[in-house]
Amino acid sequence: MMELSQICREYAVGGETVHALDHVDLTIRAGEYVSIMGPSGSGKSTLLNVLGLLDRPTSGTYRLKGEDVSHLDDDALAAHRQQHIGFIFQFFHLIPRLTALENVELPLVLTGAAPRARRERAAAILESVGLKTRIDHRPDQLSGGERQRVAIGRAMVMQPSFLLADEPTGNLDTKSGGEIMQLVEQLHHNGIALLIVTHDPLIGGRAHRHLTLRDGKIVGDVADAKP
């Protein structure tokens, strides 16, 4: 569970203070499927970064799985990200000199996992995202959709509870974008909480709960009726 209470995030831009998040209260439960929408500059990416522990709130309290993480240091935040949160980015952020397999096993490398175990795990994940035959390809040998699949594999390899996606289809054509959405929704069905920041109403509309941000405030929080 992610619980934000009275979260503010302020930036100083040219002597002026920008309120990217303005006293936000929000609770994301385990296994939810949430879209975050809103115009540019509404603070939706900042919200995702704060939820993903990449950014620290200026004030307010954030409890992740019951633990107050508002004031942890860099390494403690890194440890929580490692354990609980997977990220997918618009531009994939694969490391170009590493193969698909090596990219996927990177989080395991950071934990010091044994080479054989992590390789088997990464290979299994790649197979589950449909890239069994692309294991030894480098990112520049893969299509956009395939790259995002590798990125999803990398996000899933540590078995996080939350998958945070910032415009995951923003850099893909409609067809591969749709395939990627099917893939992450499959993961959601298997129990992970899915948070997607997007401009695209078609993508956002697929979620079960729809947050709308404007000027750093949540102005809409609509949940679908339980299916």
Binding site: L54, D75, R81, Q82, H93, R97, L98, L106, L110, G112
Partner: protein
Amino acid sequence: MKLFDVTRMSLQALQRYPLRTAMLLLAIAIGVAAVVLLTAVGEGARRYVTGQFSALGTQLLIVLPGRADTTGGIQGLLIGETARELTLDDALAIARSPRIRQVTPIVPGAGTVSSGARERDVTILGTSAPMLAIQHWTMGSGRFLPPGDLETAEPVCVLGYTIARELFAGRSPLGEWVRIGDARCRVLGTLAEQGLAGGFNVDETVIMPVASAQQIFNTSAVFRILVEAEKLDSVQAARRDIIEIVKARHAGEEDITVVTQDALVATFDTIFNMITAGLAAIAAISLVVAGVLIMNVMLVAVSQRTGEIGLLKAIGARNRQIVALFLTEAACLSLLGAMVGVGVGAAGVALMRAVYPVLDFAAPVWASGSAVGVAIASGLVFGILPARRAATLDPVNALMRR
């Protein structure tokens, strides 16, 4: 994160930019090779100079009777006041020390030597078989004095080059009899031309067994004892041995002076080692320059790989892991460059040896070792700033860069 993985990832990063990596390797390799080559030159010069001195007999100690307070050699040699004479037994006693390779007494004097109608004033030198090796003389013909009992006055002699030529005028003197003073001696051999050695003209000398010379000069004393130490670095120990041995034989009185040549050689050794170290230090400056290059290139690498660093942070990399990654990259560069440099240096040394075989060029191990050490240290020191910069990047900003 395992060391193996850190190293592998660093090497993969280096492979990604082959030209840049090659240029940095070159910079470091040049620095290391410069250290290796320059110290090899210094060491070659040192070996040449000390080698020349050892050819003159640096392991040589000269024992003379009388105690001179100065150890500066020549004064003791000149004064030579005799509290107690040195004897053949002293020489035999000294020869028993394990630190001493060989010993020969000398009893010089003036006399005449004649063969038939020809007669000549000569220096007569009573000595023994080891003299040939101690003085590095070479034989012209025949053989030198036979090894054997010092106290046996065999009627034999060896002629210096000039004496042999003048007395026998082209005939072989081997086996001929000459008259030295009142004694008759058979010629065993002749020396090759030696020239002057320490102001003493060996070519105009007749050499005979020490006991024979003592008979001619009617003395039981020995003028000097020449001693060759077992090794170059045992000269001082040999010196103490000699003093102790003779002291014990002379009723506990330290009444001899032992002159060594190694003090001079040691001075040269020190000077050349200083020069070599200085050359190494100068060359090491280029390693520091290479370190600054590493820093600049790593700073560029950090800004080029900002997105990658952001990603590593997002997936849970700790700050110290990022520092480790970049430091390892710098260290790998330094180490590889240093290895190439040692190889190039060794090849250069081999080339110099081939071109100037006279000089025994050899890079001292400490120089190669410390060059590699300095290269790695400089890579690490100058890698710290870029690595820390990478580690302290804000993940959100870093991820905005692709």
